[in-house]
C-alpha cells in the first residue's frame, strides 16, 4: 500500500481505538489486531505524532503498583475522524467508478 495513505489510515485507526474511552498502548494493539497488526514501535511513532499534532493527550494512571499511560482523544482528534469519514465517501465513489470501468472492458 502507498506509504502516505497507510500512515493516514493508521493515525485514524489509533484515534478510533481511543474514541469511546481512554485506552493504553497494549489495549490499542489488541483492539486493532482483528483489523491490522501493528508493531510497538510503529504505535509509539503514531502516538507521538498525534500528541504533537494535539489530537490526543497523555496521562499516567497508577495500576497494580506501576504507572500506565492512558491516551485521551481531543476535539481536534474527533474532528480528524469526521474528516476521514467524509474523505472516504469520496474515495469510495471514485473506487466504484474505477471498478465499473474495469468491468466494462
Amino acid at each position: 500500500m502507498d506509504i502516505q495513505l497507510k500512515r493516514g489510515l493508521l493515525d485514524v485507526c489509533v484515534l478510533a481505538a481511543i474514541k469511546d474511552k481512554d485506552s493504553y498502548g497494549y489495549r490499542i494493539i489488541k483492539d486493532m489486531k482483528p483489523y491490522l497488526s501493528l508493531s510497538e514501535s510503529t504505535l509509539y511513532t503514531i502516538l507521538k505524532r498525534l500528541e504533537t499534532a494535539g489530537m490526543l493527550t497523555v496521562h499516567s494512571v497508577e495500576h497494580d503498583g506501576r504507572l500506565r499511560k492512558y491516551y485521551h482523544i481531543t476535539d481536534s482528534g474527533l474532528r480528524r475522524i469526521e474528516e476521514f469519514k467524509e474523505d472516504w465517501k469520496e474515495i469510495l465513489s471514485i473506487y466504484r467508478f474505477v471498478v465499473k470501468e474495469e468491468d466494462n472492458e
Binding site: 498502548g25 497494549y26 508493531s39 510497538e40 514501535s41 510503529t42 509509539y44 500506565r68 499511560k69
Partner: protein
C-alpha cells in the same frame, strides 16, 4: 531473554539519541511487557512477543529525524569546564576561520554539482531556442524567396529540436542523480553521527 535484558539491549542500541527520548521509549516497552505478563504470559514469552530487539532498534533509528541526532551530538555531555571556555575564546581566531572554511568547501562542492545541472539545462534551453529561431528564419527566407537558405535554416532548426530531445533525458537523469547523491550524503552523515548499528 527477560525484561531487564531486553530493556538494557534497547538502551545500548539507542545510544546517541536524546536521553529523554530513550527513557520515554524504554517506559513504553516496559509497560507493554508488563501488560502482556498481566494477561498470563511468562516474562520470556512477553518479551518474545514484542519482537527482535535489533529490528526494533534499527526501526527507531530510521524514524528519528537527523536534526534531533545532531542536536544531541553537539550538546555537551558534562558541564563545560571554565578552562575549556577560556581555550575556546583564545583559540577563536584559529578555529573559527577553519570552521567557516570547512563549511564553505562543503557548500562549494554542493554548488558545483548544481551548477553542472543548471548548465546542462541551459544547453537544453538553447537547443530549444535554436530550433525555434531556425524554423522562424526559414519562414522569413521563404517570404524573401531564397530557397537554399530556407532549406538550411529548416535543417538547423530540426537538428536543434532533435538534440533538445536527447538533452532533455540527459538533464533529467543528471538531476535525479544529484538528488539521489544528496539523500545518500544525509544518510551517511546520520550514520557517522550515531555510528553503524551495533550488534
Amino acid at each position: 531473554m527477560n525484561k531487564q535484558e531486553f530493556l538494557e539491549q534497547l538502551r545500548q542500541g539507542l545510544r546517541g539519541l536524546p536521553r529523554e527520548d530513550i527513557e520515554e521509549r524504554l517506559t513504553f516497552y516496559s509497560e507493554m511487557i508488563d501488560d502482556r505478563m498481566e494477561e498470563g504470559l511468562s516474562e520470556t514469552e512477553a518479551v518474545a512477543e514484542i519482537g527482535d530487539v535489533r529490528e526494533i532498534i534499527s526501526q527507531i533509528r530510521e524514524d528519528v529525524p537527523l536534526t534531533k541526532i545532531v542536536k544531541e551530538k553537539i550538546k555537551p555531555k558534562s558541564p563545560v569546564k571554565p578552562w575549556v571556555i577560556v581555550l575556546l575564546i583564545i583559540g577563536f581566531p584559529l578555529w573559527f576561520p577553519i570552521l567557516i572554511a570547512a563549511i564553505a568547501i562543503i557548500l562549494a562542492v554542493y554548488i558545483v554539482f548544481w551548477s553542472v545541472i543548471i548548465s546542462l539545462w541551459a544547453v537544453f534551453a538553447s537547443f530549444i531556442a535554436g530550433a525555434f529561431s531556425g524554423v522562424c528564419s526559414a519562414v522569413y527566407f521563404l517570404i524573401c524567396g531564397k530557397a537554399v537558405t530556407v532549406l538550411s535554416m529548416l535543417a538547423v532548426g530540426l537538428l536543434c529540436a532533435g538534440l533538445a530531445i536527447f538533452m532533455f533525458f540527459a538533464c533529467l537523469a543528471a538531476t535525479k542523480g544529484v538528488i539521489w547523491l544528496t539523500k545518500k550524503a544525509a544518510i551517511g552523515l546520520k550514520h557517522m553521527l550515531i555510528g553503524k548499528e551495533t550488534a
